[in-house]
Amino acid sequence: MAAQKVKLLGFWVSPFAYRVIWALKLKGIDYEYIEEGIFNKSPLLLQLNPIHKKVPVLIHGDRVICESYVIVQYIDETWPHCPLLPQHPYERAMARFWADFAETKLLDTAWLGLCARGAEREKAAKLAMEAVEKIEEVVKGKKLFGGESIGYLDICLGWISYWLPVWEEVGSMQIIDPIKFPATSSWMNTLLHHPVIGDNLPARDAMIEYFQKRSKDI
């Protein structure tokens, strides 16, 4: 099964698609990338992900897998070399818990902050900062969430190192204060300097332009 062809439907600026790209690159898995236009969804995307109609979608042989964190775990289980999830059940449970926490308490609130204005934006930014306070405690004393190498939680939270600063700039918000959150800031830096992550990121200028337009449209 592992030898079957791999394709990834993504969108150039989607942090969710990049989770899958990073997982595939870390494992050294060859794949064909297919760029989707999210405002003009292809019949292929609508057929493969009829429930959510979203990227990323992984196609592995005749198997179709949707939802970025489901895909990353599928990749980890199908190609078990260079494991992404920790080995011990308790550590795995912690990784799953914090991935879910960051998604609901930080990503969703930061996005809300970007799209909101005035008091609503301030409220969202404040909630996002409270979430970062909790994440700071988890990453304190660690080089990466995965220890010495990138793991599942680094991949799931990796958007914080690159997308969040863009959203902060576009939204004129500060969520990651490097003085308040030194461990998180250090982790962000470590991640961006990792060749697999640093060499696989969308162009920043194009991202700024894209999110400026998106935040106005929404």
């Binding site: 429930i51 198997r63 795995r92 449970a93 818990f97 879910d100």
Partner: protein, 235 residues
């Protein structure tokens, strides 16, 4: 005492806590159940889950694990002897995780939306959405079960537990709104599955009585309505 190695903090009415009851039952794990009062949370709960302060929490070898889906997977991995909760094949595991996310993040949000919908039109729209979600899950059931009794095949597993824990609250929504949501005609697969699920050995002794749940729900919603009426006006 072997039982005190495993503790579950939960409430009898919580569908998420019910998931843990069922999963530990499948694995024949002895555990201590601690019934929490969510109006006066115990020190143990606040210390074990300082982030969300919610049930359920599984405490194993004095280490707390939170979030029901993370707990289910932990139970499967910490007690790896058969019967397993998640499928063994990575693709079937991915399918199970995908539908678990749909049920929790989409369908259950719609079910909760029924209670908060105000006015007949909004209520009807909310109920229609729940029913449409069940039609989607009916199709998933057909593909996952492949003609067998459960999502996982011959025995209950991850997806059965994830959806099955909501059957009591689905009944509550049906009775409170005088509608049929789990419709035998539109969702024959799920309707038959629901009966078998509730009769399963790991479920039948831990599932709360649905009429007791209805009485409890009526009491909670009545109290909420009263509190809303008595709340100071927003100026």
């Amino acid at each position: 005492m072997a039982g005190s190695e495993v503790k579950v903090l939960g409430t009898w009415a919580s569908p998420f806590a019910l998931r843990i009851h069922i999963a530990l039952g499948i694995k024949s794990v002895t555990y201590e159940w601690v019934e929490e009062n969510l109006e006066a949370k115990s020190q143990l709960l606040l210390e074990s889950n300082p982030i969300n302060k919610q049930v359920p929490v599984l405490i194993h070898h004095h280490k707390p694990i939170c979030e029901s889906l993370a707990i289910l997977q932990y139970i499967d991995e910490a007690w790896p002897s058969a019967p397993s909760i998640l499928p063994s094949d990575p693709y079937h595991r991915a399918v199970a995780r995908f539908w678990a996310a749909y049920i929790d993040h989409k369908w259950f949000t719609w079910l909760k939306g029924v209670a908060s919908a105000e006015g007949a039109e909004a209520k009807k729209a909310a109920l229609d959405q729940v029913r449409e979600g069940l039609v989607v899950v009916e199709e998933a059931f057909g593909k996952c079960s492949k003609g067998k009794d459960f999502f996982s095949g011959d025995r209950i597993g991850y997806l059965d537990i994830v959806l099955g824990c909501f059957l009591g609250w689905l009944y509550v929504a049906e009775k409170r709104n005088d509608v049929k949501l789990l419709d035998e005609e539109k969702m024959p697969g799920l309707a038959a599955w629901a009966i078998k699920f509730c009769l399963d050995g790991a479920v039948k002794d831990v599932m709360p009585d649905k009429d007791e749940l209805l009485d409890y729900a009526n009491m909670v919603f009545q109290a909420m309505a009263k509190a809303k009426l008595n709340a100071p006006p927003n100026n």
